[in-house]
């Protein structure tokens, strides 16, 4: 028992509530948000350090014992993702005041922002399936608030779509939990895993597994359930887009990873080839989407889909290399998607348009922005020595060791096209002559660059420092392949 495990969830919750009380005093709110996210990052770093050194921390909330009460399980996978989430949160907290209008800040941006962090951390940490649903709802509620913030017409249209699709999948989620409960009689994830193992995952359980996969695939925007995602991710403010793009779809992927490495692992021949197919299709369609548009925001939003394709591919292959690749790529993608959305936010701000055909020669005025975009394109596409390369290398190595040649070819080709889609922004938007005829008013990018550089630093370090980052990630993937470790840490103390 240690209350440390619950701190990453309740600290942002408490801070969010405090910020709701100060929502009218904008300078105070800004200062408090920055301080709170930094405090939270400090606490989470300490907990992560402890988990990696001394093993999983579990907490039975309210003192109710494990299979009956709700457990919070801070294991190495969950803490790694919570840490990543909080680093992104710090960057967004510093970016937000420059990017939001005062009206948006006044209308509860900061409380919603911290509640989103609460929900995301909760979803990573909980060891109870129904509680996972609750935290999904918490983060969705916060995201509903964030997506309509500003109240443009296009925002309202997209948010209706977003709310309806998410309500529908949440409904299915509860139904699936009920089905699973009626079969195994528990909602504690460790105990479900134990019982599914006892009955050797018969037909009905595989059906439920696919139902869960459907739910999480909708949240993660996998093929063919991604149609709601790209447009609704680009309508809110860039900082909100960055939070959504970096965190929300990844929670879906995390849930698939957890469910299909802990619980539904006894009928791999049926479920996991399905993942590989879906991964291939997500890669192809996502990349086609991203090269088909001239809207810079949409290009980045569509790039989320091939990324989740890569992630699900690792889960489908399901061996140690592929799982390490998935975890590596997950962390890498959270960072780089946040960076790209933030950069694109600045590009749209300085160019005054999101249409690529109307931009030209930005590099003459904003050299730093241009080179940051250039580096992040390399990081995203996986040019060595950056982090995308190492994630993809592990994924492909895993896939080749089980002779999945077709998916490897698709992955390689789509990587090239991903690079092309981001380079298109660079070539069309940044190259070109200085326009001498009209005197363009330079907009200040002061304040925007700090958070972007901060995040990109982590992203680059992830690749260059792979020698130090890889061993803990390999240990997580080994841990995932032995579900007994998770079950023991929850049920037997």
């Amino acid at each position: 028992m240690s209350n440390l495990a619950v701190l990453p969830i309740i600290l942002p919750l408490l801070f969010g509530i405090i910020l709701a009380l100060t929502h009218n005093r904008i300078p105070l709110s800004r200062f408090l948000t920055k301080t709170f996210t930094i405090i939270n990052l400090g606490v989470v770093s300490y907990i992560t350090f402890r988990v990696f050194n001394q093993g999983t921390i579990t907490l039975e909330t309210g003192g109710w014992e494990a299979p009956y009460g709700i457990v919070i399980v801070a294991d190495s996978l969950a803490m790694l993702l919570v840490l990543t989430t909080n680093i992104i949160a710090v960057a967004c907290a510093f970016y937000a005041p420059h990017s939001l209008s005062e009206r948006q800040e006044k209308y509860y941006f900061y409380p919603f922002f911290l509640l989103l962090i609460t929900g995301v951390s909760g979803a990573f940490l909980t060891g109870d399936l129904f509680n996972l649903f609750v935290f999904f709802e918490v983060l969705l509620m916060a995201s509903y608030g964030l997506i309509v913030l500003g109240g443009d017409k296009v925002q309202l249209r997209e948010s209706i779509k977003y709310v309806i699709i998410n309500l529908f999948s949440s409904m299915l989620f509860v139904t699936a939990v009920a089905f699973l409960y009626s079969v195994v009689g528990t909602i504690n994830m460790a105990q479900i895993a134990e019982r599914v193992q006892e009955v050797e995952q018969q037909g009905i359980l595989t059906t439920i597994a696919i139902l869960f996969f459907f739910v999480f695939a909708t949240k993660a925007a996998l093929f063919p359930l991604y149609y709601w995602m790209p447009k609704s991710y680009i309508v809110p403010n860039p900082v909100v887009s960055a939070l959504f793009g970096a965190l929300l779809t990844k929670v879906g992927i995390y849930s698939i990873l957890r469910m299909f490495s802990l619980i539904f692992i006894h009928n791999i021949d049926f479920t996991h080839p399905l993942f590989i197919w879906i991964a291939g299709l997500s890669l192809i369609f996502g990349v086609i989407g991203s090269i088909s548009t001239n809207n810079v925001k949409l290009i980045v939003a569509y790039n989320i889909i091939p990324a989740v394709g890569f992630l699900i591919m690792g889960i489908g292959v399901f061996n140690e290399d592929a799982l390490s690749g998935t975890i590596y790529y997950l962390v890498h993608d959270m960072f780089i998607k946040a960076v790209l959305f933030l950069i694109v936010g600045v590009i749209v701000y300085v160019a005054g348009t999101s249409d690529l055909r109307k931009m030209n020669g930005l590099i003459n005025y904003y050299p730093l922005l241009g080179w940051l975009l250039f580096i992040s394109a390399f990081v995203l596409a996986g040019i060595p020595p950056f982090s995308g390369f190492i994630g993809k290398l592990l994924l492909l190595k895993g896939a080749l060791s089980v002779d999945e040649v077709i998916i490897v070819l698709i992955a390689l080709i789509s990587s090239l096209l991903i690079l092309y889609s981001i380079m298109k922004i660079f070539i069309n938007g940044f190259w070109g002559e200085k326009q001498e005829s009209d005197n363009i008013k330079l907009k200040s990018t002061k304040g925007f660059m700090g958070p972007i550089v901060f995040l990109l630093e982590f992203s680059v370090m992830l690749g260059i420092g792979a020698e130090f980052v890889y061993p803990p990630i390999a240990s997580i993937s080994e841990y995932l392949l032995n579900p007994e470790l998770y079950i023991d840490s929850v049920l037997k103390e």
Binding site: I10, I17, A20, E60, G62, G63
Partner: protein, 141 residues
Amino acid sequence: MYKPNNLILRTTTSLIAFILLGFAVYLLFAGHNAPGGGFVGGLMTAAAIVLMYISYGTEVMKKILPINFRTLISIGLLVAVLTGFGAFLFQQPFLAHTYDYFMFPFFGEIELATAMLFDIGVYLTVLGVTITIILSIANDQ
């Protein structure tokens, strides 16, 4: 100016609102180990307040109840979360609760539970949320 003759409504409101508020308090205090709780208590209080809004109008009610209901939501949440934190002080798991019996003059022996504090948080939150929703719909032109 059009002035409705709502004598019957006002007279019954003062009676019904009184009963509703009393019952709401009963539900709130019964909540932690009998049917009831902060949620229903909050809803019932909200019902009483909305009834008063209907019969007396927004202007009068703003003078009677000068409360910002949106702030009430945050305060309620704060109370509920801090109850969870309270367990930290006693080295107990998050949200752990306890109870004991106390002697009171006049009332006799009464069981007091820390779950009660959590319920008060829920009560304030539900009250704030319900009134905010209803009033923002009502004020919409």
